[in-house]
């Protein structure tokens, strides 16, 4: 099966997933969430004004019709405007994605490189003090809450030592750089713990394979074995882990963005929830589902490139 056919088929499978996602979000919004008209109209709202606004927003239509509207916007990708800011949602996503990506891309790249390097090191020196130390450090890093890292980082490194900006963000290169270093470092610390342990396990599995023994018997250097053979064969789970993280890079990190005042997509989502801004909540949920679907397809395709034994059908 060609990549084209495979992609089309997988995207076709995505339709029921998207219908399910929209149904869940629609039910949650209509059953659990607050009344958006109150948030939008403010404290002097009269019951009549609320009814008028409900009518204007289509919230007084039968639920089935409302859900069909939601489905229509999902499949046409026309999310309209935000109820609270009146901005086109596509524009909001564009602006938010820029801020999120300026933080997440460097953090992700560095975290991935460091994790793989540390995992290789741990595997290479397995059962030594270095290996155990790396594992213990990883577990400690995983165990500490993200909030603790943020509060500690802001207090010690930004406020006391003055090495970084405490919070804030400036649009445009290079002005955002001072504002992303500390949050990016926290992102890296948060990612390294679980990633090192995961990659180490994968690499150790490979290290015990016959072909490694053969390579050693042939007299190949350890570094060559690790980088040329072991790493290549361990790539499938590594790719899976890396590619499935990409949607979350675009979607932002709620807590980090909120504490550092970074106007990314995480921040937009949080505001939308607080304001009962359903079109934005809907757009963000659908966007995240789509991204996960797309990147899962990309992962599958990458498997075939890394390992020719894997066929798309």
């Amino acid at each position: 099966m060609s990549i084209y056919h495979y992609t089309v088929r997988r995207l076709f499978y995505a339709i029921p997933i998207l219908i399910g996602v929209t149904l869940v979000i629609f039910i949650l919004f209509n059953v659990v969430a607050g009344d958006p008209t109150l948030t939008l109209l403010g404290r002097y709202a009269t019951l009549q004004q609320m009814a008028e606004l409900r009518h204007e927003l289509g919230l007084d239509k039968p639920l089935l019709l409302q859900y069909l509207d939601t489905l229509r916007s999902t499949f046409t990708l026309q999310f309209g405007r935000s109820w609270s800011t009146n901005q086109p949602i596509s524009q909001m996503i564009q602006v938010g994605a820029y801020a999120s990506l300026t933080l997440s891309v460097p953090a992700f790249v560095l975290a991935s490189l460091l994790s793989i390097a540390m995992a290789l090191l741990a595997a290479f020196f397995r059962d030594t003090l270095l290996d155990r130390s790396l594992v213990v450090i990883s577990v400690i890093m995983m165990s500490v809450s993200v909030l603790a890292y943020i509060l500690f980082g802001q207090w010690v490194f930004a406020y006391k030592l003055g090495w970084f900006e405490i919070a804030g963000y400036e649009y445009g290169f290079p002005y955002f750089i001072p504002y992303i270093i500390l949050p990016a470092m926290i992102w890296i610390v948060l990612s390294i713990g679980p990633d090192v342990r995961f990659y180490r396990t994968i690499i150790l599995d490979e290290v015990h394979q016959d072909y490694v023994r053969t390579a050693r018997a042939k007299g190949l250097a350890n570094r060559t074995i690790l980088f040329k053979h072991v790493l290549k064969n361990a790539m499938i789970p590594i790719i899976t882990n890396l590619v499935t993280q990409i949607p979350s890079l675009i979607l932002g990190a709620l807590l980090i963005e909120s504490f550092f005042g970074i106007p990314g997509l995480g921040n937009i989502t949080l505001q939308a929830i607080n304001n009962s801004d359903f079109p934005v909540i809907k757009a963000m949920t659908i966007l995240s589902s789509m991204l996960y679907i797309i990147f899962n397809v990309i992962t599958d395709i990458l498997y075939t490139l890394v390992d020719p034994r894997i066929k798309l059908n």
């Binding site: 709202a45 009269t46 004004q49 800011t85 009146n86 090495w163 804030g168």
Partner: protein, 590 residues
């Protein structure tokens, strides 16, 4: 050796990136006076007809202005003309108000004007702005404030409720531009609060050109006559930047001040605004806001809703560590009352004043004040906060005294001895730590008389929804004034079963009649007596459990001059000055 040099190179790269990052700064003019403030909440936009929250209003009044404002340095607050030349002439029957506008006032330069240059403000602009509030397509909730008050405005609105287009050229009897600079309002009946209403943000003037040019996104493109301009507002950016309006009229710093505020007259007579630029950072979290303030990166920190206020303010002064850094405290009484609201239309509270009185008597207000406000708040004996006529410093509400024995008596008289037979009462609060703690405190107080409370946290829209659907039994809420008249608070109980307001669903014929009489009177001793009488009626009915009137603490650095907080006065930042030399000297201490 090779590995070592690789690590060395990597360390050098990291060091270089870090040093570069530290050197990167957004260009800023030398000796530019920049005032840096923060907001803990996202700004919803800049359309005066649509914004209703405190934070957005504060930002909007830097750009927009109205006919009237409040004197910056006088307390109690005093109305003064802003875009009007003077206070209006009022007809004998109290129904016709005629204003003369200042000549030569210009809107900000903006692409919405044909030449890009702001045109002169005229009386027609005010007619347009008020009509906009009434336009059903604008969906301004502020219309309910003026509904039925201006002759012909309701009929004009009704005419366009179901039409695709609203005709602004159609005349409204009570809203006329007599000539280029004369504006006349004709009311349906005397309305003593009318001038206060005109000083509110929703009555600020907006140019029709900007509304038409920017359409649905007008709220993100502020074009006013105010002291500061803003090119465009993007709600996604967590930073707002304002520049001094180069075409701002000749407005001067006041030369008079009430007693106690004379020290703020150093810049008397100087042309406003006094700073070149304002930057507002949106920082929802308390820690970064507080750290940035301590670092000197933020000039003013409004800590009214922050937990840090408990740590840094002791006995109405700030702790010595901050004093050493030259930090100043502005502690003004907020026109605000916090209370535990009761849904008076739901069982078991309906027609059971004794039960409501029992809850009020069982609430330990003093302990609450000590725990949550370091004892700095004023115990609320009535709905009217200090500073407004009708507030009595020595008034003692007979049901607002912590008296468990009396509370138990009232509970028994209500038909629930020791709480037996009383269902569990839900108390809805906002889902933040402080409100949850306050709810738990209330629960603990009520346990003292055998009343069981269940605290229910909600996100704010959810709480509003429950209130509007009358699904709460009790809920914690604060009410702040929009103008300095106790009517703003007393209206919460006036036929509140018919409106959303504070979700009290209270309806008492005697109260309604007295309220109507009092609020139709001009400010006078007689009206104050009626306000006090209304307070006493409410004390007997106990439709809420009053908690406190809170002071509003704001910290600012020593280099910030002339700062005075006000709940009503918009565009405060035009009066603020920055002493750049002192800033350098004080920052050296950090």
């Amino acid at each position: 050796m090779k590995n070592l040099s690789r690590f060395g190179a990597l360390a050098l790269i990291i060091l270089a990136v870090w040093l570069y990052a530290r050197s990167v700064r957004v260009p800023q003019g030398q000796n530019e006076k920049v005032l840096v403030t923060t907001s803990e909440v996202q700004i919803k936009g800049f359309d005066p007809a649509q914004i209703d929250d405190l934070y957005s209003s504060r930002e909007a009044t830097r750009v927009y202005e109205g006919l009237l404002t409040y004197h910056y340095l006088k307390r109690p607050h005093e109305l003064v003309p802003n875009l009007a030349v003077s206070l209006p002439t009022v007809s004998e029957d109290g129904c016709v108000y005629t204003f003369t506008l200042r000549e030569g006032v210009k809107f900000h330069d903006n692409a919405c004007f044909p030449s890009g240059q702001g045109r002169e403000l005229t009386a027609e602009d005010f007619v347009y702005a008020i009509k906009r509030v009434a336009d059903p397509k604008v969906r301004s909730s502020w219309f309910s404030v003026v509904a039925g008050k201006i002759k012909g405005l309701d009929a004009w609105r009704d005419k366009y409720t179901d039409t695709a287009h609203t005709d602004y050229s159609e005349a409204v009897e009570g809203l006329k531009a007599l000539d280029r600079y004369s504006l006349q309002f004709t009311l349906t009946q005397p309305w003593p609060q009318f001038l206060y209403i005109l000083a509110m943000n929703f009555c600020c003037v907006v140019p029709q050109e900007a509304v038409q040019y920017y359409g649905e996104e007008f709220l993100n493109h502020p074009v006013g006559t105010g002291p500061f301009t803003m090119e465009a507002f993007n709600p996604q950016l967590n930073k707002l930047v304002y520049h001094k309006n180069p075409t701002f009229r000749d407005k001067r710093f006041p030369s008079e001040a009430s007693e106690g505020y004379q020290h703020l007259l150093a810049d008397a007579g100087k042309k406003l605004p006094l700073v070149d630029k304002i930057i507002t950072h949106i920082l929802p979290e308390e820690q970064p806001r507080w750290l940035k303030f301590q670092q000197g990166a933020i000039d003013i920190a409004d800590i009214a809703s922050d937990n840090i206020a408990l740590e840094v303010i002791k006995g109405n002064t700030i702790v010595p560590q901050l004093q050493e850094k030259g930090v100043q405290l502005c502690l003004e009484q907020a026109p605000m009352t916090s209370f535990f609201a009761i849904n008076n239309d739901c069982e078991p509270f309906k027609n059971n004043a004794k039960l409501r009185q029992a809850l009020s008597l069982a609430f330990d207000g003093q302990r609450y004040n000590e725990l949550f406000f370091n004892g700095s708040a004023v115990s609320a004996q009535s709905i009217i906060p200090p500073g407004l006529s009708g507030y009595q410093r020595d008034y003692v509400n007979p049901y607002k005294q912590y008296d468990l024995a009396k509370a138990k008596q009232q509970l028994a008289a209500a038909g629930y001895p020791e709480g037996k037979g009383l269902p569990v009462i839900t108390l809805d609060v906002r889902a933040n730590t402080k409100q949850k703690q306050e709810g738990e405190f209330f629960k603990k107080c009520m346990e003292g008389i055998g009343v069981k409370i269940r605290v229910v946290p909600n996100i704010f829209p959810e709480l509003l929804k429950k209130m509007s659907q009358r699904k709460t039994m009790m809920h914690a809420i604060s009410w702040g004034a929009d103008y300095p008249d106790a009517e703003n608070f007393l209206q919460l109980f006036y036929k509140s079963h018919q409106s959303m307001s504070a979700g009290l669903n209270f309806n008492d014929a005697a109260y309604n009649a007295l309220y109507e009489r009092a609020t139709n009177m001009q400010p006078s001793e007689e009206r104050t007596i009626l306000y006090e009488q209304l307070n006493r009626m409410l004390a007997e009915c106990a439709p809420v459990v009053y908690s406190i009137h809170q002071a509003h603490p704001v910290l600012y650095h020593g280099w910030v001059k002339n700062y005075l907080w006000s709940n009503y006065c918009g565009g405060l930042e035009q009066y603020i000055n920055i002493d750049l030399d002192q800033k350098k000297a004080l920052q050296a201490r950090f």
